[in-house]
């Protein structure tokens, strides 16, 4: 175990945050909060302090939210979550978003030290998954999850989650095909080599053997490795369209038939080298294109937003966790602080205060009275409430909205550059091929006619398109990835380059939910500030921490009789004064002031002192971003919130930008639709469930989030809120990528023309073909790569 070197400065030993108080000190190590200290204590008790040796401050600030994992002991839920179970052991794969460094890896693979009932744990770092084998008789699942939570690695438990979705993310079939085609390519090259150098009479006896070996390899490549091209081409022909795979399949077929003909008839060496090389490169292109993000899901639906289970109350008032799908109309459920209402329900008991910001975009929580209907998706703030379900989960307002037919977009409508060009390309190639065929036929040279015909088809290969496009676009994808902008696939890059209108949502999208502006209304003396600071330090509530930060370092007083009421506030005697902080109802029900939830009221003794208010803050660089964008794009703002911020927004957005407030999710969807009918290509930036429809409808839906592990609605791309300012660079880079692809197409055409020059004369030798193809490929890959890097440097995206 290393001794701490960090304790000299005031950073938390566990998470590296600034330390505002010296309350949390254990063995000369300082911590920022009780959460971090707690994790350290668990680890040091179990002799796991190596965790701190591999990285400095490897932990993450733990937000204390009381959670109930009782549902994990329900057999019906248990069986859905685990991968394998028998009498003795159980195997489960958890998705743990907090995995981020080698310390995490080390700790999670040493779980058996904390509890010997855990047999083995293996981490997949990139996927942020841990596969844990445990003895469920010694450690029930619930306890396992609680261990993970206690060390700061809370798994994301959901029945429809990325763990299951990404189980087979590695396309083994494609890799196997690449391996086989690579094997064939290597061997064919070896066997063709003597042919390239010219065969002496001594070696002529091998020609026959080499020819047949080449043909055998060619057959494997054609019938096994190229299957996908044939099926894809056939599929598109059936739909009477031509995609890029159509000419590719044609070329593979022609190459094989001609090689077979030449070798069987003994008239020539065939084109097996070109065939295998081509298929190998094409498969590589496919592989590059298939690059996926291991830890991001673009297709989450409402099920991953809702909890796995809810607490059902039976007739006797007994609590029993049940899977969310088992909820029936009339069920009584208990929703605790910070839990989500899973179905439309009526409030039966308790003080309801629901935060709908994620569902509707409204920034202030709503207070509900007994008997009111509460729509699914609201998050309860405060004490537990009892609700009676009035609609099953699948019929809830939110769920119905999500399943709306209009949200289901047909993705195949997006035409990419490749498929468009493939049509013209195929047409031109076939015209030239038939032209040369008829020319030579007319001149009576039948053999030459067929030579020329097949040769044209061979050299005019659009393989460059099939290779340069995925390479260029996936480089862009990787570049964006590093900068915090995650695109679903390469087609999205092309779509990004086409966009001409931007639609912004307000809450959570251009406003920053995490950064807060705190202000105090009222007057406080230095002494009173210290009193408040001393009290706030004891609470792990985010607002308390903000207040501590806002007050800065001050004298500390002894706190006695501390008590915290969830969702209400805190109270204690500090230096002999009674201090109460929290909601209006808790602190000063008789004082006539605002009662929004983002306000913390303060009372010292009997005197009401005033309140801290949290103001929405716009994202950094928002103003510059809008200034850059306004010259090039049409912009719109649609919000589900009230118009209170209109004034502040109009100083950021130019006058002519339409701003709509109080828009329902359906209004947003219709607005996008209208824009599209006016021939706009719309990019929608939103964050919440209320934007889900608009995101689906738009040509490019971008979900904005501050933590990519958080739930985001289904979208084409996910953008980290902190890098929103780079949007103009992203768009520019996408546009440049499209230019690069077009440019590479021009280079490829030059090579093709050279090839066609030989081909139409019927004098294309296998050697020329075997040289031209890799030459053009190398040129293209080099130019696209260099150009991409150049523009990335220019756009400061590297």
């Amino acid at each position: 175990m290393k001794t701490s070197e960090i304790s000299t400065n005031t950073l938390c030993y566990h998470c590296g945050d600034d330390i505002a108080t010296e309350l949390f000190t254990v063995e000369d190590k300082q911590f920022c909060c009780a959460g971090c200290k707690g994790v350290y204590q668990v680890l040091s008790q179990n002799n796991l302090c190596n965790y701190y040796a591999y990285n400095k401050a490897p932990g993450q600030t733990k937000q204390y939210v009381e959670q109930h994992f009782d549902f994990l002991n329900e057999p019906s839920i248990f069986s859905k979550l685990v991968d394998y179970t028998d009498e003795k052991i159980t195997l489960i794969t958890f998705f743990i978003p907090a995995i981020h460094c080698s310390s995490c890896l080390w700790l999670l693979e040493h779980l058996h030290k904390i509890n010997p009932g855990i047999v083995q744990s293996r981490v997949d770092f990139l996927k942020k998954q841990a596969e844990i084998t445990f003895d469920h008789n010694r450690v029930p699942l619930k306890e396992l999850v609680e261990i993970l939570v206690s060390i700061g690695y809370e798994p994301l438990i959901s029945l429809q989650d990325i763990v299951k979705e990404k189980k087979n993310s590695v396309n083994r079939d494609l890799i196997r095909k690449i391996a086989v085609s690579g094997f064939c390519l290597g061997n064919v090259m070896l066997f063709s080599f003597p042919e390239y150098l010219g065969i002496s009479s001594l070696e002529a006896q091998f020609q026959f053997l080499f020819g047949w070996l080449n043909l055998a390899m060619g057959a494997v490549v054609t019938f096994y490795c190229s299957q996908d091209f044939f099926t894809s081409a056939w599929g598109s022909l059936k739909n009477k369209v031509i995609n890029l795979d159509t000419p590719l399949a044609l070329i593979v077929a022609v190459l094989f038939v001609r090689s077979a003909f030449e070798i069987i008839s003994g008239t020539g060496p065939g084109f097996s080298d070109t065939l295998t090389g081509l298929v190998f490169l094409l498969l590589m292109g496919r592989w590059v294109k298939q690059r996926t993000y291991n830890h991001i899901s673009f297709n989450r639906d409402y099920r991953s937003y809702f909890p796995v289970a809810v607490t059902l109350l039976d007739e006797n008032g007994q609590e029993k966790p049940v899977p969310i799908d088992d909820l029936e109309v009339g069920s009584r459920i208990l929703v605790r602080n910070n839990e989500i209402v899973p179905a439309d329900a009526i409030l039966m008991k308790g003080d309801g205060c629901f935060d709908f910001s994620f569902v509707t975009g409204e920034s202030d929580p709503k207070t509900k009275v007994l008997g009111e209907v509460i729509y699914a998706g609201g998050r309860q703030i405060g004490k537990a409430v009892e609700l009676e379900v009035v609609k099953p989960v699948s019929q809830s307002y939110l769920t119905r909205l999500w399943n709306n037919e209009a949200f289901k977009r047909d993705d195949s409508k997006i035409k990419n550059f490749n498929d468009t060009i493939a049509q013209y390309f195929s047409a031109v190639v076939i015209v030239i091929a038939i032209g040369s065929l008829s020319y030579w036929y007319y001149h009576g040279e039948t053999n030459r006619a067929w030579d020329a015909f097949s040769a044209v088809l061979i050299v005019a290969c659009p393989c460059v398109l099939a290779l340069s496009t995925p390479l260029t676009l996936s480089t862009v994808l990787g570049m964006f990835d590093k900068n915090g902008f995650y695109l679903k696939n390469t087609d999205v890059v092309e779509q990004l380059a086409r966009v001409d209108s931007l639609v912004f949502d307000k809450t959570g999208t251009i406003s920053c939910p995490e950064a807060v502006d705190l202000s105090f209304s009222g007057t406080l003396s230095m002494y009173e500030e210290s009193l408040i600071g001393s009290l706030a330090r004891n609470s792990s509530h985010p607002l308390s921490r903000e207040i501590v930060k806002w007050l800065g370092k001050s004298a500390e007083f002894k706190v006695e009789g501390y008590s915290e009421v969830a969702g209400k506030g805190v109270s204690a005697f500090v230096d002999g004064h009674e201090i109460i902080m929290g909601s209006r109802a808790f602190v000063a029900p008789d004082v006539d002031v605002v009662s929004a939830s983002s306000v913390v009221h303060v009372r010292i003794g009997e005197e009401y002192k005033g309140f801290f208010k949290i103001n929405q803050r716009w994202r950094d660089n928002l103003k510059q971003l809008i200034t850059v964008l306004k010259t090039r794009y049409r912009m719109h703002l649609i919000s589900g919130d009230h118009a209170a911020e209109r004034k502040s927004l109009s100083s950021i957005f130019p006058e002519y930008v339409p701003m709509l407030f109080k828009q329902s999710p359906h209004d947003k969807l219709l607005y996008i639709k209208k824009l599209q009918e006016d021939q706009n290509i719309v990019m929608m930036l939103g964050d919440g469930l209320n934007d889900a429809g608009a995101l689906r409808q738009s040509d490019l839906g971008v979900a904005v989030t501050d933590n990519i592990n958080n739930f985001t609605p289904g979208s084409d791309a996910i953008l980290k809120g902190s890098v929103m300012g780079k949007m103009p660079q992203f768009i520019h880079q996408a546009k440049m990528a499209i230019k690069i692809i077009k440019f590479s197409f021009v280079i490829a055409s030059i090579y093709n023309l050279i090839g066609v020059y030989f081909a139409v004369q019927g004098s294309l030798s296998p050697l020329t073909a075997a040289i031209l193809m890799p030459m053009s490929t190398i040129t293209i890959i080099t130019t696209t790569n260099l150009a991409n890097r150049y523009f990335a440097g220019k756009n400061k995206l590297r």
Binding site: S102, F125, V170
Partner: protein, 52 residues
């Protein structure tokens, strides 16, 4: 020169052997996670429990 027939046969068989080895590795999932093992190998072995 006839020995070449034998050598060519050998080279193909050997190449097939390697291809088979690759398939084996693929089937065993060696290509599923190519990042974590590289990190894992850097960790020290656990020190033996200190006897008191």
């Amino acid at each position: 020169m006839n020995i070449l027939y034998f050598l060519i046969g050998c080279s193909v068989v050997m190449a097939l052997f390697f291809l088979g080895a690759f398939f084996w590795a693929l089937k065993d999932g060696q290509h599923d996670d190519v990042h974590t093992p590289a990190v894992r190998i850097l960790f020290d072995d656990d020190k033996p429990e200190e006897t008191e």
